[in-house]
């Protein structure tokens, strides 16, 4: 098997750009990634694209502008995990020798589709019953609070932490103010107990990554593990809150593949579409026991200057959440952190990083898909 490496990353800015062509967001990201990897476009021998809302054909229109015709290309849709699912396929393709240099692209333009929360999917049993995504996470939060007695301010602390980090991210969508716990809790209620500032914004953006085999460059990052799982039944037999089990399955595979324990991870980017999501995810990743994940932000453990910083980019809560682009944005942040190039956001220890992206929303399943990847420097 071939050791896959991350050669380069790039992203667009994140925000509301309804006046931009969606392809132009992708071109920004790909151009930066190609330059970062130090390759020429002609070296790319396959393209994998992650996008939820497309539009259909967006990948080909992106290819046209890049002159990347004729190479194998496919588009992956795995809800919020689409970008990292595309990345996972690239990593597996390199590992098995199928391709030598793969471009991963995540892209979505939400501002031209939705004015607020994503319109629920009418073909889904729960979507048809008007369950919005913040409502799904609110149901998760209510169950979790009833079981473990987590307070409203513990939830809010996740938003305070990530939004403070986002202030230092020039590409983040929300970087004007870092709210206090009181301000997070006083913001408009969306779905009890989740207030507006505990929900990620509607966003446009793209991210790109170049994956290839070891080529002897010190700056390339070793992809120690990449695990992708699809959802499994989440039903009346399930004792865990929605979503927990899918993240735990992917995490277990990734840690086994890397031969690492959660304590060895220096810095993480995880799926904080809603505050409760970061808490449940960190428990599923093994950073805290069940019911203790809510203590990680208030205790300082996951702050930028803490022992295991989580979402130093500002996370989805600050950077924004253009669904297909999110996983690739997370990868870019971890790459910048591991190489020590995250400027004001730089964390102190940065040898091993982890990205987790979880996509969900299909009724009766514990997720649509989850990807966990572990990367490290070559030191």
């Amino acid at each position: 098997m071939i050791q896959p490496m991350l050669w380069g990353v790039g992203t667009s800015a994140y925000g509301l750009f309804p006046g931009r062509r969606v392809e132009s967001l992708a071109w920004d990201a790909v151009a930066e990634a190609v330059g970062d990897a130090g390759i020429t476009p002609g070296q790319i021998d396959a393209v994998v694209v992650g996008s939820v809302f497309g539009p259909p054909g967006v990948a080909t229109r992106v290819q046209r502008g890049l002159g990347l015709g004729g190479v194998p290309m496919w588009t992956v849709e795995n809800a919020c995990a689409s970008g990292t699912s595309a990345y996972h396929e690239a990593v597996e393709a390199v590992r098995t020798g199928r391709f030598g240099c793969v471009l991963v692209l995540g892209v979505d333009q939400m501002s031209t589709l939705f004015s607020g929360a994503i319109v629920p999917e009418a073909t889904d049993p729960e979507g048809a019953s008007s369950l919005p995504l913040p409502g799904l996470y609110a149901l998760q939060a209510q169950r979790y609070r009833a079981e473990f007695g987590v307070t409203a301010s513990q939830l809010a602390e996740v938003a305070v932490k990530n939004k403070r980090n986002g202030m230092d991210n020039p590409r983040a969508q929300l970087r004007a103010v870092a709210p206090t716990t009181e301000e997070v809790l006083a913001s408009r209620m969306i779905a009890e107990p989740l207030t507006l500032l505990q929900c990620c914004p509607t966003s446009d953006g793209a991210g790109a990554a170049i994956v290839g085999p070891d080529r002897g460059r010190r700056d390339d990052l070793r992809i120690e593990a990449s695990a992708m799982v699809s959802g499994a039944l989440w039903d009346q037999r399930s004792e865990d809150v929605w979503g927990y089990a899918s993240v735990a399955r992917a995490a277990e595979k990734a840690f086994a593949q890397a031969g690492r324990t959660p304590a060895e991870i220096d810095v993480l980017e995880v799926h904080d579409a809603f505050t409760i999501g970061e808490i449940i995810t960190l428990e599923a990743l093994g950073l805290a026991p069940r019911g203790k994940g809510a203590e990680l932000a208030p205790s300082g453990h996951t702050r930028r200057n803490g022992p295991q910083p989580v979402n130093p980019s500002g996370g989805l809560l600050s950077r924004g959440h253009p669904l297909g682009a999110t996983g690739t944005a997370q990868l870019a942040e971890i790459a910048w952190q591991l190489r020590g190039r995250a400027a004001a956001r730089q964390v102190a220890r940065h040898r091993v990083g982890l990205v987790e992206t979880m996509g969900g929303g299909a009724a009766g399943m514990d997720g649509n898909a989850c990807v966990v990847t572990i990367l490290s420097t070559q030191e």
């Binding site: 497309g54 501002s111 004015s115 929360a117 048809a128 019953s129 008007s130 779905a191 009890e192 039903d235």
Partner: protein, 138 residues
């Protein structure tokens, strides 16, 4: 200020007739006045509030039509404070574990964050959503 983002545009997402899109087949569980319709596995007894599936999703055994009692306990409940589709806030939603059946999403008759374990009974439907109310102690 330009028109509100996204408003009035067709989307890739099928929003359904209730939200201004084209009609789609209704995927929601059906309450027939006596119980919730679905299927049950003949081998492992696993209940599902869907019809038309080819086998039991839990053990791949054969499934047969079933009707589940309309009572159960709350797994989790919330109150939605934003408009969604045809609904105006506030409205309550809950995962309800039916006594002999599956976990299903129901709309609460009263928008309240009911604690897990609260007893509910499905009393009817509203625009096709199953509506459940707290069971009165008799």
């Amino acid at each position: 200020m330009a028109a509100e983002l996204g408003v009035g545009r067709p989307t890739k997402r099928r929003s359904g007739a209730a939200a201004g899109g084209l009609p789609v087949a209704d995927p929601r569980p059906v309450f027939d006045g006596q119980g919730v319709q679905g299927v049950r596995c003949g081998t492992c007894r696993y209940p599902v509030a869907q019809t038309g599936i080819p086998w039991c999703p839990a053990c791949y055994g054969p499934v047969a039509p079933a009707r589940f009692t309309p009572t159960g306990t709350v797994w989790s409940a919330t109150v939605i404070a934003i408009p969604v589709g045809p609904l105006r806030p506030p409205f309550g939603l809950a995962y309800l574990d039916l006594d002999d059946g599956p976990r299903i999403l129901v709309r609460l008759a009263e928008p309240r964050v009911l604690p897990p374990g609260t007893r509910l009974r499905i009393t009817g439907t509203d625009c096709g959503d199953l509506v459940a109310a707290e069971e009165r102690a008799s």
